[in-house]
Structures are given as structure tokens and as C-alpha cells.
Amino acid sequence: MSELSDTSNDRESRWRALMASAQDGDHAAYRELLSDLFPVLRRFVLRKWPNAHDTEDVVQEILVSIHTVRQTYDRRRPFTPWLMTIAARRVADAARSRYARGANETTVDILPETFDGDGAKSEQETRDDREALRRAMAILPAGQRQAIELIKIQGLSLDEASQVTGKSIGSLKVGIHRAIKAMRQALERNG
């Protein structure tokens, strides 16, 4: 028991020191800390949410949250409660958004055949589609292309894309609309 508590105290002291160094910009300490935390967080997520389908995604989101709020860690206070508060909140958020998404989804046994999906096409057709889309995107102005990349390809929300680009949501919507129109015309022109 005492040995366990010593190990836990050692780990706590180590993490506190690593986090303090990371706040000072020490890359090696930060890499070591994040690598240390990964398995601990994975176990935590599995314990809190045993049926999670995407444990790795949840753990990655927790690491990102730790990164974005690392300025809130007070070096005079213990590290583990700070870490676990963030982890517990992010697991709860992930579970809530999963259930919210699940409420709007319908499970079907056999997916209807679609000619839009890559699975219904030959490899050559898939390659041709991608190439045509790449060419259509290449003619877009830089701002419109960035909007398409962030929102339609990387799947960011308008709010997130706005934070990344510094553009307003309205301007991003207009950019997407014009880009899709220009790409449609380019695809029609090229047959």
C-alpha cells in the first residue's frame, strides 16, 4: 500500500515538474508528459465509458484540450486532479454528443446502392472523379480553396473555420457557395 502511494507520489511529482517545464516551452518535457499521459487517459476513458467505439479519438481530444488550456495549470497545485477534471469533462462531452448524434441516426442493414459512393465505382472511375475535383479546385481563388479544404474536406464547423482563417462566418459561407458554383461549372465544362 505504502509502495503504491510512493509510486503515485513519484508520478505526481514527475508530472508536475514536466508540466512546469512544458509551460516554459520545453518541448522534450512536453513530449515526455504527453507520452506518459496517453496510456493513463486511455485507461480512464475505458473505465468511464466502457462502450466507447472511438476511445483513441476521445483520448486525442483530451490531449488537445490539455494543450489548449495548459495556461490554467497552477504550479502550486496538484497536477492529477487538474488532468482528471479535464478528462472527465471531455468524456462526458463526447458521450453527450454521441447520444445526440445517435438520436438522429437510423440503422439500416443494407445500404442502398449509390453511384455517388466510391464503393459502387471502379477504381478508374474513382481516380477520374478525384482528378476532376482536384482540377476544379485548382482554379479557385486561394480564399475559396481554403474554405473548401477546411469545411468540406477536413470537416470543420463554420465557427472553427472562422477561428482558423480569421474570416467571418458570413464570408466563409459566401466563399463556399461561390467555390461550389465555380467547381460545378468547371466540372460541367470538362464533361
Binding site: Q23, F38, V64, V69, Q71, T72, I86, G155, L156, Q163
Partner: protein
């Protein structure tokens, strides 16, 4: 949703973007900074609107002095609570400490109502309509609210509803105090309904926007911002 990253790739991306950062100061210290700046602004507002002519006489009234002090203390302690709520694993009592001063504030209104009943009978509890208190408190509180919002956004969105609710309480309580220093509206029941009621209503409405105003940065957005900065 973007393609899943390898765990090691994510760790490398976060490490590469680990710039030195200054840890946030203690919530109480941040609350004092916010309060000092906001108090300067409120002083300008009160000077512009004009201090009530009977201020010297009123401030020697223990009920008025308690009410005013409770409004200011609720404001600064609620601000400290909002900053504390943005720091993971801080003691929970810090978030709710403003409730103590809120109770004292309500107690001062209760004493005022009792005194009015004593002086004028039941008619002392009749309130005239003063709907303009709501937009006035809202307008006065906006700059202080904008400042505290920019400060709480530096914290973690652990409890967004509580954080925004406390930030709104801090701003509107300060605006209510400014109103008390400028306008002669003394029937306790009127002050309680129209001024204190506006504070409670605005705090409640603001807290509903907690999740819209404070949210976590998602992995895909963060990685995209790293890539955008690199370009």
C-alpha cells in the same frame, strides 16, 4: 470529421507548437484587476449620469450602505467565481461564494421592504412600473461584461453555464450599483423587482449561452490552425 491521426503524430504536432505560456494568475487577483478596471468605467458612467443629489444623506443609511456594499461584493466575488470555474480542480466553494453576498443583498431589500411597510403600511409594498431599469442595466453592464468575457475565455470551459452566469452576475451587479448611485428610486420593493430583478433575469439569460460562448477547441480545428500558421 477528418481522418484519424496517429497518436504519435498528434503528440509531435502538439509538441512542435508548445510555445512558452504564462500560467493564469490566481482567480482572486484576476477578479480584482477586472473589478478595478470596471470600477473606473462605472465611475465615469455615474459621473456622466450625475450622482444622486441625496447621496451623502443616503450613504449614512445602514440599509442603503449595506445594499450598495453587497452589490459591489457580489460583483467582485462572482467575478472571482467565474475565473475559478475556468481553472480545473479548484475548490467548488469558490464558484458559489458570491451566493453569500447575494443573500446579504436580498436581506438588505427585505429590511427595506419591512421599513417601508412600517412607515406607509401595505401601500409601501406597491411598486410602480420601471421597465427602463432592464435596458439601462444591460447597457451599463456591456463593457464590463465584454471585458470579463475576454478574460474567462482564457480559462478552460469546464463549467460553461456557471462561468458565464457568474460573469454576467458580476457585470450586472456592478451596473445595478451604478444605477443606485445615480437614480433616486428608493421604495425597496421597486428596487428589488426592477433593479435586482433585472440582474437576476440578465444573469439567467446569459448563462443559457454558456456553451455557445465557451467551448473546447476540437482536434481538427487545432491541427488546421497549426497548418494555417505554418503557411
Amino acid at each position: 470529421m477528418a481522418r484519424r491521426m496517429l497518436n504519435q503524430d498528434l503528440i509531435e504536432a502538439l509538441t512542435d507548437n508548445c510555445a512558452p505560456i504564462r500560467p493564469l494568475p490566481h482567480p482572486a487577483w484576476r477578479a480584482l484587476v477586472w473589478f478595478a478596471v470596471s470600477l473606473c468605467y462605472v465611475a465615469i458612467v455615474v459621473a456622466a449620469m450625475g450622482v444622486r443629489p441625496d447621496f451623502v444623506a443616503k450613504i449614512s443609511d445602514p440599509q442603503f450602505a449595506t445594499e450598495l456594499a453587497a452589490a459591489f461584493l457580489t460583483s467582485v466575488v462572482a467575478a472571482a467565481g467565474a475565473f475559478s470555474a475556468g481553472c480545473p480542480a479548484r475548490p467548488a466553494w469558490e464558484r458559489f461564494a458570491a451566493g453569500f453576498f447575494l443573500l446579504i443583498w436580498m436581506g438588505a431589500f427585505a429590511v427595506g421592504c419591512w421599513r417601508d411597510v412600517d412607515a406607509y403600511g401595505v401601500s409601501g409594498l406597491l411598486s410602480h412600473s420601471d421597465i427602463y431599469c432592464l435596458p439601462t442595466i444591460l447597457a451599463i453592464s456591456i463593457p464590463a461584461a465584454a471585458l470579463i468575457l475576454s478574460m474567462v475565455k482564457r480559462g478552460a470551459p469546464i463549467a460553461p453555464f456557471v462561468t458565464i452566469g457568474l460573469a454576467a452576475l458580476a457585470s450586472t451587479a456592478l451596473a445595478e450599483a451604478a444605477l443606485r448611485l445615480s437614480f433616486r428610486q428608493d421604495p425597496a420593493v421597486s428596487v428589488c423587482i426592477w433593479q435586482f430583478g433585472s440582474v437576476v433575469l440578465l444573469t439567467g439569460i446569459a448563462s443559457l449561452f454558456g456553451r455557445a460562448l465557451l467551448h473546447w477547441t476540437r482536434r481538427d480545428a487545432l491541427i488546421a490552425s497549426f497548418q494555417a500558421h505554418r503557411r
